[in-house]
């Protein structure tokens, strides 16, 4: 056997399971079909760590969420990802909705959600969140709710897992799983892998993977959510603002990001195409109107990006975390909201399944290191420190992204960190170059040049997010010239 455990899927679920299992004496690898981890549902996520009062008691996701929320404090100390417990508000705009807030508070408190409080004093509401509409008549404040950068969190998990021996294979799409004696053979386009245990954390593709393994059948339906992001400094929010939830979702929220932008979204659109992350006129209008109900002063002319993400909704409407009849094949699927919050509890559950259902005797590694150092950011430096850093490494003195003030050194570090960036998007999501108001207008060619140099690939082979997403097609000659001669090895090749 090549491995003890193969994890399929490099989203937050797969990476958190990888990191959790990396504590034990197991040989583990993670297979991801995209050019980078955190490329699927993890990327298009609201980035909210929920307090846990929201889901119905009949679902296991409620219990996992409340437990998961508590586990964030320790993880934050160990993994140094951007995270803040700023608190969330559910906003009632009508008298009849207050009853619902009371249920949420009472059940939530009973189930261990700390500090839940209903506030009806208008002055206090205004003080807590000055941007909130005057029409708010009551809010449910949950101080344990927080915001997080979901992809930076996932990178932190992956880095730490990798430091502890988990091997990551990106651009390794699983195309077949065969049961073999005492384990599985997992086929990917580039090569085959074998292992005793396979954990399916394939998100939107988890139903397909489960079927491939001949295990439980369940269905995954993509539910799309669209977002609009506003420029930094165009508006400031203290809290995550939720409307009263609908049957489909928690509704369109207005929230600050951990990096000081404000976003609105998501809507909830059940679609057919599992890869359709396109935004729509209708959807963008819908979230705008939803957002304006909570915050009438949205800076509509300061939008810098719209995007859409998908949730992987299972037919059970709940998490599917279980050992299957295909012994050794474990599902961690249907992880929709509040999956991000629940993630450490989900990983704990996978450990329990390994021990109790599969009879694994997990031994802790002697050299396990739970600490992942915080990536160095110019924005955290004092002036003196910056000066000193440039003296040590001049790359700190070349600012590549002007909007977010990101120097070359941070980009190079993002490339060479464990499970590092290989694409322009990889850089953007790891160190924010291209994330600001100009959306890479200035820095993209420079980021491409650094990727080309550090990864030793031709300039025009640099992609946005892997295969097929090239920015450049050819050297500038007449097209007929380049096509006739097919030389294109001119001096313009970097």
């Amino acid at each position: 056997m090549d491995y003890d455990v193969i994890i399929i899927g490099g989203g937050v679920t797969g990476c958190c399971i990888a990191r959790t299992l990396s504590r034990y004496d197991l040989k583990i690898c993670l297979l991801e079909k995209e050019a980078d981890i955190a490329s699927g549902t993890t990327k298009g996520n609201s980035g909210v760590v929920h307090a846990g009062y929201a889901a119905d008691r009949k679902y296991k996701k409620r219990e996992f969420c409340i437990r998961g929320n508590k586990l964030f404090d320790q993880a934050y100390k160990e993994l140094n990802f951007p995270f803040k417990r700023i608190g969330t508000l559910v906003v009632a705009l009508e008298e009849r909705q207050i009853k619902d807030l009371v249920y949420k508070r009472n059940y939530g408190t009973e189930d261990g959600v700390p500090g839940l409080e209903i506030i009806i004093d208008k002055n206090r509401i205004k003080q807590i969140e000055p941007q909130l509409t005057d029409k708010a008549i009551a809010v449910l404040h949950a101080p344990s709710g927080g915001i997080i950068s979901p992809y930076e969190f996932t990178f932190a998990l992956a880095e730490n897992a990798n430091m502890n021996g988990v091997e990551f294979f990106r651009e390794h799409e699983v195309i077949g799983i065969n049961k073999i004696v005492a384990g599985f053979e997992v086929k990917t386009k580039p090569r085959k892998f074998t292992s005793r245990i396979v954990i399916n954390a394939a998100g939107l593709y988890s139903a397909e993977i489960s079927r491939m393994a001949g295990a439980d059948t369940f269905e995954i339906y993509p539910r799309r959510g669209e977002y609009i992001l506003f420029d930094k400094n165009s508006i400031h929010l203290n809290k995550v603002l939720f409307p009263m939830p609908t049957r489909l979702s928690k509704g369109i929220l207005v929230s600050p990001t951990i990096h000081g932008h404000v976003f609105i979204g998501p809507n909830a659109d059940n679609i057919l195409d599992i890869e359709d992350v396109s935004t729509t006129i209708r959807g963008l209008k819908e979230i705008l109107s939803g957002g304006l109900k909570l915050v009438p002063n949205l800076p509509l002319n300061a939008a810098i990006r719209n995007f859409a993400g998908l949730r992987a909704v299972s037919n059970t409407m709940d998490f599917i975390i279980e050992a299957t009849e295909m012994v050794g094949f474990v599902n961690a699927a249907g992880i929709l909201s509040p999956g991000l919050t629940a993630i450490f509890a989900i990983a704990e559950e996978v450990v329990r399944i390994l021990v109790e259902d599969l009879g694994e005797e997990l031994k802790e590694k002697e050299n396990y290191n739970s600490y992942r150092p915080k990536p160095e950011h110019l924005s955290d430096f004092t002036k003196m420190k910056l000066n000193q850093k440039i003296k040590e490494n001049p790359a700190w003195g070349r600012i590549i992204c002007r909007c977010e003030t990101i120097p070359e050194a941070e980009i190079v570090n993002a490339i060479h960190s464990p499970v590092g960036a290989t694409t322009v998007d990889g850089i953007k999501f790891r160190c924010r170059a291209g994330m600001g108001r100009c959306q890479g207008g200035f820095c993209k060619p420079r980021v491409m040049e650094i990727l080309s140099r550090e990864l030793n690939i031709p300039y025009k082979e640099v992609t946005k997010r892997g295969k097929g997403s090239h920015y450049l097609i050819n050297n500038v000659l007449c097209i007929e010239l380049t096509e006739d001669k097919k030389e294109s090895k001119g001096v313009t090749e970097k």
Binding site: V476, L477, C478, E480, L481, G490, V491, T492, K494
Partner: protein, 132 residues
């Protein structure tokens, strides 16, 4: 779908020309009536001259880039020293694109002499120091 840029499908003896001399954009009609060129619709003297030239022999300055060996940049912007006949635009571009020049280059240096025997040179639009 409205296409406002359709080529005028008139005979070669008559043409409507949009004047580019100033932002007013007068529509000037130029007509060849038995060998005599008649122009109407212009707003000024410069417009009249422009229309006359556009009618009989439209010319354009060509700007392009040439590949550079050992330069600070891989390519250098160039232009034709004077306007060239509009119909030879693509031939000229093809020739400019196929030639490689060596740095250092100074602005105004002649990079291609008498291109296509038009009696016009292609000159450098900027300095191009050598790669350091």
């Amino acid at each position: 779908m409205s296409e406002s840029s359709k080529e005028d499908k008139m005979s070669e003896d008559k043409k409507v020309i949009r004047c580019t001399v100033c932002p007013t954009g007068c529509e000037i009609t130029v007509e060849n009536v038995d060998g005599e060129v008649k122009i109407r619709g212009f707003g000024c003297k410069r417009g009249e001259e422009y229309a006359k030239e556009e009618f009989s022999a439209p010319q354009r300055i060509i700007t392009a880039t040439m590949r550079v060996e050992n330069g600070f940049l891989p390519i250098i912007p160039v232009r034709t020293e004077n306007p060239i006949p509009k119909e030879s635009v693509f031939d000229i571009i093809r020739e400019i694109s196929s030639i490689k020049v060596k740095a250092p280059i100074k602005v105004g240096d002649i990079l291609i002499k008498n291109i296509h025997d038009l009696g016009i040179n292609v000159i450098a639009s900027r300095d191009m120091p050598i790669k350091t």
